[in-house]
């Protein structure tokens, strides 16, 4: 009976996703493919933003962290919530108000020059492919755990299904399927927490899970604080504060909002949502401490918690939730990478008709999906993979983008130097620590964001001053 129900749940989910994807229709123009005609309402911008940032790290990862180190990671996650709110208040409306702007590269091109536009495009496409490879690995892990398929074929299935609807429907299909997937996990995972707190009976010492909660929370938090160095906490806060700021899929949602107000409110709401989301995930981890063995691996906490407290159909629901979590992030990354490739790398050199741009966007979606599937094999750990992407993205783009949007006459030399130096310092530090010093600390890699960001800011200042000096000399 339970098997029939489980198979029914998985099929119903597949059928509903197909229905929603088909209803989103194929995009007919590049404007529709890239920015959904700039007409997204608040609920869809918010739902899609939240569905994109809630990936495997913000679910499986945070439940595991709550299990191991209690509320410590809630504090670190709050840095992420603050980042979204600040972007909503200060950056997203400014970005939305730019005319003829499809991507971050466009925004940088408008503020600096064509060279900066192309460099920002190359960084955007590279980072989208990197993030997508991490998501593809996570999706492969989920299917592999549930069905026991070989890992490569699990990766292929997740990437192929996601690429299929993103290639045809573009941003609109991505946003609409995100809303559906967001609904699935935003309702089911908090329900799992309530279920565990209310119905999962008693712990080994006879207390209820809810009664033991505060005690477990303080024990886990004390352990987390004593086992994590201050420098590592600072690095993690910096990575969560800046590492995902305005990565291409978020920037596309800011640009595709119906108005500047929708863009602002979408980011603020997503920030508030993320704080509550982290609270729920960390609480699931803490509640699991009274139920599952203490030596459970971090990535298995959510899986084992559901297995030991719910009937088999609950496990099928978890599969649906985790596949939703992965696909909603992966589709946004594929679309954002494809749009950045067309708009920032091809269009600055070749005059493209609407149909040709749409075809190049579609081909690029497939190409990035293939790169992500192949790259998934090279990713060792999901959280490490994401932290590396964070550590490159923030120094490579943020100083040039933020300062460019805020000052009156940004200098092209400052933009290009900051992007070049920021990305090179981050990549060099990563290669040194990972392959030469052979750094093993799991989240230790987050620390490289600080020197790389400092180098990018310094390069910006030097470039700004040098550009001004060169101009005055040539006069």
């Amino acid at each position: 009976m339970d098997t029939v129900l489980s198979v029914g749940i998985v099929f119903a989910y597949g059928a509903l996703l197909t229905l929603v994807a088909v209803r989103a229709r194929a995009a007919r123009e590049f404007e529709e493919f890239s920015l959904a005609r700039r007409a997204l309402p608040l609920a869809l911008v918010f739902g899609s933003l939240a569905a994109t940032f809630v990936g495997p790290v913000f679910t499986i990862g945070f439940v595991g962290r709550g299990f191991r180190s209690g509320f410590l990671f809630l504090g670190i996650g709050l840095a992420y919530a603050i980042q979204n709110i600040v972007v909503g208040l200060l950056i997203a409306p400014r970005l939305r108000s730019l005319k003829n702007c499809h991507t971050l590269g466009d925004a940088i091109g408008q503020k600096y020059d064509r060279k900066c536009h192309v460099v920002a495009g190359i960084i955007s496409v590279g980072l989208c492919a990197g993030f997508a490879a991490v998501m593809a690995k996570a999706g492969g892990d989920v299917l592999h755990d549930f069905f026991g398929l070989p890992h490569w074929s699990s990766v292929f299935i997740v990437v192929a299904v996601t690429a299929l609807y993103t290639t045809f429907g573009g941003l609109r299909a991505s946003v609409i399927t995100d809303a559906f997937q967001f609904t699935a996990f935003a309702i089911l995972l908090p329900l799992a927490l309530l279920f565990v707190m209310v119905f999962s009976g008693h712990t080994s010492d006879g207390q209820g899970v809810a009664a033991a909660f505060a005690q477990q929370a303080s024990a886990a938090t004390a352990h987390g604080l004593s086992s994590t160095s201050t420098l590592e906490i600072v690095g993690l806060v910096a990575a969560f504060l800046l590492g995902e700021t305005l990565i291409p899929p978020y920037a596309n949602r800011a640009l595709a909002s119906a108005t500047t107000q929708v863009s602002r409110n979408g980011f603020i709401l997503a920030g508030v949502f993320s704080a509550f989301w982290f609270m729920v995930m960390i609480s699931l981890g803490i509640a699991a401490r009274s139920i599952i063995p203490a030596d459970t691996g971090e990535d298995l906490v959510l899986l084992n918690l559901v297995k030991s407290t719910m009937p088999a159909s609950g496990y099928a629901l978890l599969l649906v939730v985790l596949v939703s979590v992965v696909m909603s992030s992966l589709d946004s990354l594929l679309n954002a990478g494809a749009v950045a490739f067309t708009e920032d790398i091809i269009k600055p050199f070749v005059e493209l008709a609407n149909g040709a741009a749409l075809n190049i966007g579609r081909a690029a979606t497939i190409a990035i999906a293939l790169i992500a599937a192949a790259g998934a094999v090279a990713v060792d750990s999901i959280i490490d993979g994401l932290l590396i992407c964070y550590a490159i993205w923030a120094p490579a783009i943020l100083p040039a983008l933020m300062i460019g949007l805020w000052i009156k006459r940004p200098r092209p030399l400052a933009g290009i130097l900051s992007m070049g130096v920021g990305s090179m310092v981050a990549v060099t530090l990563w290669v040194i620590f990972k392959f030469i010093i052979d750094w093993k600390a799991e989240t230790g890699i987050s620390r490289i964001i600080i020197p790389a960001l400092a180098a990018a800011l310094f390069a910006y200042l030097v470039g700004h001053w040098l550009d001004a000096w060169l101009r005055s000399e040539s006069r």
Partner: protein, 39 residues
């Protein structure tokens, strides 16, 4: 202290569920408006 923490956790869970329902309602509104426009 204990019941306060549990109450806060329950409120957080309900907020997230409410967000999900809100986005689901918007999704249904968007798709049905388009169907009405096609008719």
């Amino acid at each position: 202290m204990n019941s306060l923490v549990v109450a806060f956790v329950v409120i957080a869970a309900l907020f997230v569920i409410a967000s999900g329902i809100w986005v689901a309602a918007a999704l249904i509104a968007v798709t049905s408006r388009r169907r009405a426009a096609r008719k």
